[in-house]
Every structure is written in structure tokens, then in C-alpha cells.
Amino acid sequence: MTTTKKAQEATAKKGQEMTTFGLAKEKLTVLNTHVHNIDGVAKVTGRATYSFDTKLPGMLYGKILRSPHAHARIKNIDASKALALHGVKAVVTGKDTLGIKQGIWRRYQELCDEQILPVEKVRYIGEPVAAVAAATEEIAEAALDLIEVDYEVLPGVFEPMEAMKKDAPTIHEGVERNINVTRHIEWGDVESGFEEADYIREDNFFCGGQAHMCMETRAAVSSYTPEGKLTIYHSNQSAYYMQALMAGVLGIREGDIRVIAKYVGGGFGGKFELDGAIFCTAILTMKLFRPVKIVYTREEDFIATKRRTPMHYWVRTGIKKDGTFCAREARVVSNGGAYTGMGATALYLTGFFHSFPYVWPAYRYDGYRVYTNTLPSTSMRGFGAPQAMWCSEQQLEWMATDLGLDPIEMRRKNGHYAGYEVPGQAYIASCGLDEALTKTKEWIKAKGKLPANRAIGYSAAGFMSGGIFNWFDTPYSFSSAVVTINQDGTVILHIGATEIGQGSNTTMAIIAAETLGVKVEDITVHSGDTDHCPADLGAWGSRQTLMTGNATKRACEDAKRQILEFAYAKMGLNIVYDLDIKDRWVHIVARPERGMPWEELCKIATRGKDGQRIIGRGFYTPHRKGMISPAYSYMMQAVEVEIDKETGHIDLIDSLTAHDCGTPINHLGLIGQLEGAFSMAAGYGYLEYMPYEDGKLMNPNLVDYKMIRATEMPETPIAEIDTYEPEGPYGAKEAGEGLTNPTAAAIGNAIFHALGIQMKECPVRPHMIVQALKEKEEKDKAAKGAKKGK
């Protein structure tokens, strides 16, 4: 039975009954029903136009000249030959900019360290040095070869351990030993915790980088007009961030910049910082007063955007014979690359989620992020947690095996539960971990005995539903929504959220339809346009379902309250009767047959308001919700893997995803997000790696950078675990990003159970398996020999 079918039946079965805040039962008519993405038709008919497709009258084409050196001082740039080339309109360099060091950490200026067009020096291969605007892309590209840059090449450093050495080159002036940021988390008494432990184990791990590899490469079209207005079509995850950051680097007002991100070809954590495309097109158009378009090639997208943060993990864990967790200490040194980006947050979150999803009486984490002359590393789907789980979930599996314990029961014994408080960090209001463990156990049991060289590995994980920190220092609420009711009953919803494919527009339409009591097709959603939509921090850290969802729900409740006032008047009701609206029918809750059509009420209300349209407004900013996030999702990923012992080839045979996302809202979107997360996370486990030589990425193309394709994808049945998250809209929380966390570790554990080898480096590549098996055989032989000796 296909996942969709299963879930459709589940949906029907549920009968849409649920309790909100323990109050009267609320009947739900739209939530978690089978709804198409509201932008689906545009996408399957090829009508959806992305920044990549945008064309404006008189548009010029831009190209970016990139540094061939990992570390060099820019002594001089001579563009005269390029400017002489017929068709070239302008060349800009760092000198044409305000030279502002920008970053998303506006509250912590020292972490704003990146000039998109550097003035003094370049810090990684591929960093922009100059940008050209010309009549055609071909001329622009030809012009790049004519720009003469005089570099003073400086020694580079590429590995964090090297970069911290005394004699290492300084990448950012004034940053001692290239240490960018450190993060520390601690609770409980770690030392005495370890004293109580019967079994203490230490391991060193390494997790590599990963490319976001959005199908739409970075693309921007900027247009500056004499009115002093700058319009930017840009492929990003947060239109508001782009607007605010651009205002900062251009020295103009946010309100004079309009950022449009209607259709976005994927983000995955890589598209909410400024990139060369948006910055250079803006600088060029403000010089030329003509629209300028820059689209990154795939190679540029690989070498000059950002990546998942490579991390060196040292983990020390102490547990009792019976599997009770006592203490854990973890230390991370991450390769930050040339700039901070979102890396500081990734460094904190990896430490936080390394404790997940378990109760640790004592826990200590020290994280160190180190600058190197490589591609900057930043947030990527999972935000540091996939690395954390790779180390944590494998080590726990090994320890359980060493102690002869059932690893699933050990996880259950120490797992988070609703009502648990992660000391000083977070409060867990809903938690489906226990059921996820049970579902996984059942699935493994049902699988029965597996053929040789096959095994099932699994891993638990948890994730956040949006971040709480306001390091961006915005005066706006985190999420806002405005809903407008037309006289004919149609509804227009304006949200600042960004639809990047995850289906947020549809999710918000569903929440709006549910709350107002209308149908999804009554709702028109406008998002990702800073001129028309209220500010919202955007699509990252799994924040929109919960945060924008709450804002949308509140906006609709506001509008509903206003409109129902007219229903009370019209129907002359005793005020003790409750009115509600479902399926476009305004009615008395106790007497559903008594009521009036929604459209009729909308007309009456509009007239009654002296012709004003009913407008509802909603805002959400988390308050008093701990250090990290208002809510946490929980999940188990099980993967059946087959390994060719001779070649080390890895095959994914089957899988089970058990995921607690609170109340599912957008059913199709949920399944899509979970399956998608699996493919990206499994790729991280055994395919996707980024080898560097002297700071140069060796596989910046889709021939040499491997990722999962249809033929590598196993079945992905999903066990939906519905809990109720009090802080989320209708009890919803994160779904889709979190599942990137456990999968790589699950593959690692499968390899461990199949072959008895412990893989400490991620991704696991075939030759590593062959090597590990060889070492194991030698060890076993030696052991046998020793026995014989006795």
C-alpha cells in the first residue's frame, strides 16, 4: 500500500476530532485532508516563473569574476580592457561599494565579517572579486577574462586544527588563532556523573560538509529606477532578511527596497544570507539604472555559496550497566570556512541536539568554530544536528551492544517525555518519541530474518520548530499575517513567509480555511514580496508552520470575531449561544442547522462596516520559551541496508520513518517533506562529500558530486505519530527538516550490525568499508592467535 493511500485512510479514520486546550471538542474540516499545493497547477504546467526565468525590459546580464586564490591581498584591479569590450556596460569591484562587513548577526557586530565584494583581500577560492554587466551573458563572460587583478598571494590554511596553530596565517585581522566563535552548554555535575557510570566510552568522529544543491542555482534580477526604488527578484528563503541586509550594505532604507521571491527552486538553509548574485546585480543596476540579471552556474553554486559545516567531534559518554545515562561530554571543532554566516548558530545547535532526544543528568558541550581559507560553512537542513546524531546515535548503539542491552529499550529508558525540561535550555510540551520507538520495533520484528550482508540500523532524533533568538535584531514580530475578507466570501491572505517548495503557502491556506470555516479554494495567498506582505523572518529552522501558522491563525480569528458580530446581530441570537463557521456555513454550534451562508454574511458585514473590507491581523513572537525553540518534534529513522563485503558498495533496501509532527496540517506536504529529507540525509550518510585540495573543491559539478537518484531511493513508508503541541497552530510543529538528522546515523548503525565495523567518518564511502573490514579481520586473527598462545 502506498504511503499516500495509507495516510488518506488514516486521515479519514481520524474523523477530524480533536481537543484544543482541553476545551470543548472542535470539529475540523480542512486540516490534514488531501489538499493539492495551491501553486501546484502552475508548477506542473511550467507556468511558474522563478528568478531564474525573470526577464525585464532593457535587462543586462552580469557575471562575477572569482578569486583563483584561497588567500590573497587584492593590490589592484584594472578593468579598462574589459570596459573597452563592445557591449560591456560596467564593471564593479569592492571599491564601488560601501565596503560594509555584513552578516545576519546584526546584534553581534564582530560576527558580521563578510564583504560580498571584498575590498582588501579574498579568503577562499571562488570569492567574488569584480562583477560585469553587459548586453549578453556571453559578452559578460568574455569581459571577465579581460579584468586584470593584481594579487599578493598569502599562505592559506584549510583545516581547523592547522588554523588554530600559533604560526598559522591570520584570516581575519584581530581574530587570534582564527577562532571565530565558541559555544558552551552545561548542566548537572558532569564529573560526578561519570563517577557513577559503569561504562565510559570515548570516540572521535568526523562529519564532512554537504552542498545544499538547490535545483535553482542562485539567481537575481535587480532593477533600480530614478525614483530611488530598488526592486529585486531573488531566489531566497527570506525576502525580509534580503531586504533588511541589502538596505544595510547599500545604505538605503528598507522601505525603498522591494524583494520578490515568488517561486524559489529550493533553499535547504543556503539561501537566507546575501549572495553574489543579489549584491552584484544591485550594485550594477544602481550604477546603470538598467535591470541586471545574474544566474550562478552550477559550478559557481558549488564553490561560491556556502555548505553544511564539517565538524570534528570528540564524545565521552558514561552510562550504568542497566543502560541509565549518567553523563556526556562533547567537544566540537568545526571548519567554519572563510566567514561566519549562520555557522555560529549551527555550532550552538549541534551541541544542543547532541543531547537529544535524551535525558542527561549531566551534560557538557564546548564548541569551537575556526576560520579557514575554504568555502564558508553555514546552516543546512538539520542545522548542525545531523552531525550531532551521527556521533551520538552510533556511540550509543555501540555502548548498548557492548553492554548487551536492547538499544531501542535503552533509548526509551532515557528518552525525552512531555513535561521534561532540558535544564536551562528548553521545555518539552509534546513528545512522541516513545511511540516512534515502538513503531520502529514493530517494523523490525515484522521484517524477520534478513539475508546475509543485510541489516537494519536506526537512529532517534528531535528537532526544533523555529528559533527564538533575535540576533537579527529586528523590531518586527517574528511572523505576521494579514487576512482580508471580500464581500463575496473570498479571502486574501498576506504572509511574509517564503514558499520555497516546502508548501508553506498551502499550509497557511489550510490553517486560514480551517480557522475561518471556509474552503482552501476560497483563499488566495500572497507571500515572499516585501512590498505587499508583512515582515516574517522566513523559511529556515522549521519555523513557518509554527510561527507563521500562529500568526495566520490569529489573523483569521481576528477577522472571524469581527464578522461573527454581524451574524449575532443578523440572527438576533441570545448571546449565550456560540456561533461558528464550517464549510462556508455560519451556524449555532448547538443547532448546526440554524445558520446562514458565509457569502451572505460577508456582504452584510461589509455593508455594516460602511463598506470597509474586514481585515484581520495576526502576529507571533515566542516569549518565555527557553533558549532554543517553542516546540520540538521527535522521530525515529530505520533503514535496511545491504553491503557488498568485497567492494564496500552500499545499497538502501527499505526504510521506516516514524515522525511526531504534532497535528499534521498539510498531509501531502508532510509526506513529501519526510521523503525528501530522507533522500538528502541518506545522501549525506554515504554519497555526498566535498573533497578539498589546498582550498579548491575537487568536485564542483553534478558528474562528480553524487547524490541519491530515483534508482538509489528505497521505499519510505511513514508512521505518522500525532501528538498535540500546545504552542503550535492546532497543535502542529516541525516536520521535514528534523528528519535530516537521524538518517546518516541509521545507515552507520546498519553497517555496524551487518559487518560489526564502526564507521566514524561521514559520509561512509565504499573503500572505507573495505579498509575497516580488513582491519577487523586482522584484529580477529590476532585475537585468535593470542588465544592459541595461551
Binding site: H34, N37, V41, T45, T49, C214, V264, G266, A710, M713
Partner: protein, 161 residues
């Protein structure tokens, strides 16, 4: 460079266009004909986002010169729907959520359409093989496979909405 006049019959309409011989088919479709549903995701014929049908055969339009297709029949994702009636494969993509960001979707639609043209009842493996030249970073492919299976099962009538 001397341009050549060629005729591309795109979605059953003939377009006479002057192109430099080095113009790729995808460039001709996007820039000369002006249909932007067909995307580009790489320079190495790896991602399949540019897949179109040439004489009813799935081909990556970034790996073919436009001049090589002079007089040939080209079908793009815009050509699947007829007078607002979605093709079965499009409807199946909708019902199965076989797209997310949508950037690879045109290529996926055309690759699977190509399969269904030569094989009305493909097996799951044949479906997977038909799109293994196409990268989707969002869906994990299985929803796309389910959509094609649904069409193969005859769940959708031609021209259904």
C-alpha cells in the same frame, strides 16, 4: 557567425527562428521561443531539468544543438495541457505531491511522459530508470514514481481535469 533559420515545432506550433549554430535546444526553447517551463540545473548533462520530448523521445535539451532539431517535433511541459485540461501525468503529479519547489518538475514530467509514450504499463523499476537522469532535491522521487504508477494503472483519463 552566420545564423541559420530553423523551424522548431514546439507544442504543435511551428516557430521559425534564427539561431547561432552553437545555440543549445534549451536556449532556443527558453530564449527564442520564450517558453521558460524547461529549466537548466547544470552544465554537465547531469540533472535532467531541461528534459523535453524530441519526436516523442525524452532528450536533455542542454545536450542537443537547436540546429540538429530543425523541423522536429518538440514537446515541453507547457504542451502537456490542452485547453486547460491537464494531462493524466500532470494530474497524477498534483494528487501525489510529486513536486515541491517545482524546478525539476518540467523535466520529470517530460521524462516520465517519454516513458509512458513507449510503455503504457511500466514497472516500478522502469519508472525509476526513466528518471534516473533527473535530479530532484525536494521529493525523494518516490512520490513521482507513485504518480506514474497511478497513470499506468489507468487511474486518469486523457484530458481529465
Amino acid at each position: 557567425m552566420e545564423k541559420r533559420l530553423i523551424t522548431l515545432i514546439v507544442n504543435e506550433q511551428a516557430y521559425e527562428i534564427y539561431v547561432n549554430p552553437k545555440t543549445l535546444l534549451v536556449e532556443a526553447i527558453r530564449d527564442h521561443v520564450g517558453l521558460t517551463g524547461t529549466k537548466r540545473g547544470c552544465e554537465t548533462v547531469s540533472c535532467g531539468a531541461c528534459t523535453v520530448l524530441v519526436n516523442d523521445m525524452a532528450v536533455k535539451s542542454c545536450s542537443v544543438l537547436a540546429v540538429q532539431c530543425d523541423g522536429m517535433k518538440i514537446t515541453t511541459s507547457e504542451g502537456l495541457e490542452v485547453n486547460g485540461k491537464l494531462a493524466p501525468i500532470q494530474k497524477a503529479f498534483l494528487d501525489n505531491g510529486s513536486y515541491q519547489c517545482g524546478f525539476c518538475t518540467s523535466g520529470m514530467l517530460m521524462a516520465t511522459s517519454g516513458l509512458l509514450k513507449e510503455n503504457k504499463k511500466p514497472t516500478k523499476d522502469q519508472i525509476k530508470e526513466s528518471i534516473e537522469g533527473n535530479i530532484c532535491r525536494c521529493t525523494g522521487y518516490n512520490s513521482i514514481v507513485r504518480a506514474v504508477e497511478a497513470v499506468a494503472r489507468g487511474e486518469y483519463k486523457e484530458g481529465s481535469v
